[in-house]
């Protein structure tokens, strides 16, 4: 079975401009959203307290709100979490002395709300200073990852490809963040991990195409750069689609069965990988071609020892 059978290369580069325009539009739109609506930062980054409590019967949210307001927490955000027997209570950081005591008081207050058994399922408290640190570290990690990739691809391939790859990655990340801003999904540490995993996945995808571009430049001696890129993208298209498909299927499983705690993690990856697949086909190589990628840059083959060639396989 094959998804695509091509007799000749598809002219992907014909769509170079429309694709780049579309991407630019999406990126600008996302940046606009981020500027206007911002990101719904989760507890990890803002600091504060989240308490998840399990009730043996359906919980009465308004009653819980009243009790909490009486106990001195009128600003508590009370929501169902996963089911109606599961309640998440969020409390913004406050300038009290003993922040870590808040959870004790909330649990004690909750015990008054109903006769049914209340079970502490999860308490998370993050101090404001820790939140700020995590935010800094997260941003730093993303930059370091992109920089590392820029260097590695620049070294292994060529700076135009390297720049194309990193711009495409930035594109994936920004648009995914845009989605989170648009839907106001909570952005916590697991989502950050998902974004970094997305960078890893997307670069993987792009490298496979680039590797082929390099090979095609050597093979097709009389073609224009655009034709060469078309050839490379076409011949890797099956692989790109199959891998994205298996990964997406698995992520759908994770999304539906993984539970509420990793819902946003799965969402970020699911959306990001779809965008990433598109960008490694249209955006990354499109930018490289536009930057003036040509045969001469790829020849002579950079290092004589192409990895794996001439050497015995691992075993």
């Amino acid at each position: 079975m094959r998804i695509f059978r091509f007799q000749q290369a598809i002219n992907f580069m014909r769509f170079k401009w429309p694709a780049l325009m579309l991407s630019a539009l999406l990126v600008l739109g996302s940046l606009g959203l981020l500027a206007v609506k911002g990101i719904n930062w989760g507890l990890d980054f803002t600091g504060g307290t989240v308490i998840e409590a399990g009730f043996s019967q359906s919980a009465d949210l308004s009653q819980i709100r009243t009790v909490l307001a009486e106990s001195g927490y009128p600003d508590a955000v009370v929501q169902y979490f996963g089911s109606s027997q599961d309640v998440a209570i969020r409390i913004a950081p406050r300038d009290g002395v003993e922040q870590s005591r808040i959870s004790n008081e909330i649990m004690a207050a909750l015990a008054k709300t109903s006769d049914s058994q209340i079970e502490m399922r999860r308490i998370e408290f993050v101090g404001p200073s820790v939140g700020a640190e995590l935010r800094e570290q997260g941003g730093l990690a993303m930059l370091v990852a992109l920089l590392g990739i820029l260097l590695y691809v620049g070294m292994r391939f060529e700076w135009r490809l390297s720049l194309g790859a990193v711009l495409a990655l930035g594109h994936d990340v920004i648009i995914t963040l845009g989605l989170f801003s648009l839907l106001q999904l909570e952005f916590d540490l697991t989502v950050l991990a998902a974004i970094l995993a997305l960078i890893g996945y997307s670069i993987n995808d792009t490298i496979v195409v680039f590797d082929r571009i390099r090979e095609s430049f050597r093979k097709l001696r009389d073609s224009t750069p655009e034709e060469t890129v078309n050839d490379a993208v076409t011949s890797t298209l099956n692989r790109t689609v199959v891998t994205s498909l298996t990964t997406i299927i698995v992520l759908i499983v994770l999304f539906t069965m993984g539970g509420a705690l990793i819902h946003n993690f799965a969402t970020a990856l699911l959306f990001g990988i779809a965008i990433g697949t598109y960008s490694s086909v249209f955006v990354a190589s499109g930018i490289a071609v536009q930057l003036g990628l040509n045969r001469e840059d790829m020849l002579p083959p950079p290092p004589p020892e192409k990895e794996g060639e001439g050497t015995e396989p691992l075993l």
């Binding site: 004790n104 999860r122 308490i123 993050v126 990852a145 590797d211 891998t243 993984g258």
Partner: protein, 618 residues
Amino acid sequence: MLNQNPLWRYLLVVGVLLLALVYAMPNLYPEDPALNINATRGGAVSETTRQQLEQSFVSAGITPKAVTLEAGQVLARFASAEDQLRARQVATELLGNVNYVTALNLVPTTPDWLAAIGASPMKLGLDLRGGVHFLMAVDMKAALDKNINDLTQAFRADLREARVRYRSVTADTERGQVQILLRSAEDVAAARAALARLDREYVFTDGAAEFSLNVSLSENRIREIREYALNQNITIIRNRVNEIGVAEPLVQRQGADRIIVQLPGVQDPAQAKEILGATATLEFRLVDDQGDLAAALNGRLPPGSSLYYDRNGQPYLLENRIMLTGEHITNASSSYDEYGQPQVNISLDAQGGNQLSQATRDSIGRRMATVFIEYKPGEELQADGTPVLIKQEEVINAATIQARLGRSFRITGIGNPAEAQNLALLLRAGALIAPTQIIEERTIGPSLGQENIDLGMTAIMWGMVVVLVFMVIYYKVFGLIANVALVANLVLIVGIMSMIPGATLTLPGMAGIVLTVGMAVDANVLIFERIREELAEGRSVQQAIHQGYDRAFATIADSNITTLLVALILFGIGTGPVKGFAITLAIGILTSIFTAVVGTRLLVNLFWGGRRVQSLPM
């Protein structure tokens, strides 16, 4: 001939897989709910206690799976969590909770032959096991401030002793220095010379005012103070955590001023917080030698004295007047005296030195007892749900005062070096110089932990099934081969995770495994697509296989190295759960390269390599 491999390669790959399989096996055995019963303060539980425990379990109608004595602690295994909880009550009733600590635990039931080769199940993160995670910050400012204040007092005494007349000596904690105002330039020079002789780590700068001198501490000394404050807190927290009764606690330093505390299985974070936050103090009191101890034991206390006990239950009659409290202790360490006997050296701040000097002036020849006071949460609860703290006092040492004591003195006549070390540790613990604050808490209830495990397992299982089916449909027989590699990959991941001592499985880690399952087929997809292309270009089957693998390898290596790079960055910056994700992702990438590039090539070669084959079933 092309595409044939020597036998040893097959044996090697099979060997690696078998090894991983063996080390992955302990994960198949369920864990037993168990109780750990420890004696407090480094004591050991005796065989008699073990027998008593076993008998009282049986008479309470609980049949333990086993009650064993290992390394000075009793381990009792039970069939169900219900038995475990009831047994805990029985044990607490029997032993009380002063001298013994009972901790709930889950112990692996790894068969002996597996345990003998060091195989053990994967360690589960707190989000899967349930438990409490605290990040505590040590207030370094407080430690440094205290130091500056101590110095200020000390300088006054030092200058007086050196006969340097000063106008004032004040602490400037804002700038971390002591300001000394003097009367003349000569005095400034004299003060400088006198103080510099005492400690080379003082840094002198001229003050803004006339005839003034600022003294601050060198970078070195400040670092020492910070280290000391951090280590002291870690020691204290370790001690307290042991009191809570946690089977496998983790107390670890993080960065310059943070401490991570992980208490698996603790279900009541309020209690844990109380214990970690409670302060231990020390008091020095004179032993009342005039009073009648026997009468006091019968309830007739002499006026001005009270009864205290030491760890072994020996009674002491101590005066109510406190000679000195522990907050004045600046350091305590154990060493040996000139006769090679263990001793504990204690340093006090200037105020403490004066107090003790006053108090011991007329008490030479009498005994001085050191009382350690700690607060433990009791059974009763306060209105806000936190347990009421019970004060516990214990005499840790009583020594004869040989001379008038000053800022530094020593306690000799201690039984053995271990005891001296323990005493020094308790003395330091009673003199906490830098308070801590919980700045992050993550508590997962036990039921949520189990739920997370179940969710993760179903996700992994269904993810696998879907991908397996897809591969067979898409690549037919070759799909089957890729599937073998995928399953082998999962075994390898679990095996390696179980082998690496520091690796813990977390919920995001499980998500990482699911993701790896999706991505692991990528290497095989690359190879198979390449083989198809080579075939389409008209190469022979053997050449197509050979070229397909070789050419795909460069791509696989390049693309996975970049992903690995990202995983390493994630590991570097991530905390707990995210680190777990990074670990499984990194391991998954490595194992998938191995299984896809090496494993399936061997299989493909085994079936089709070196034969006259016209077409491939793909």
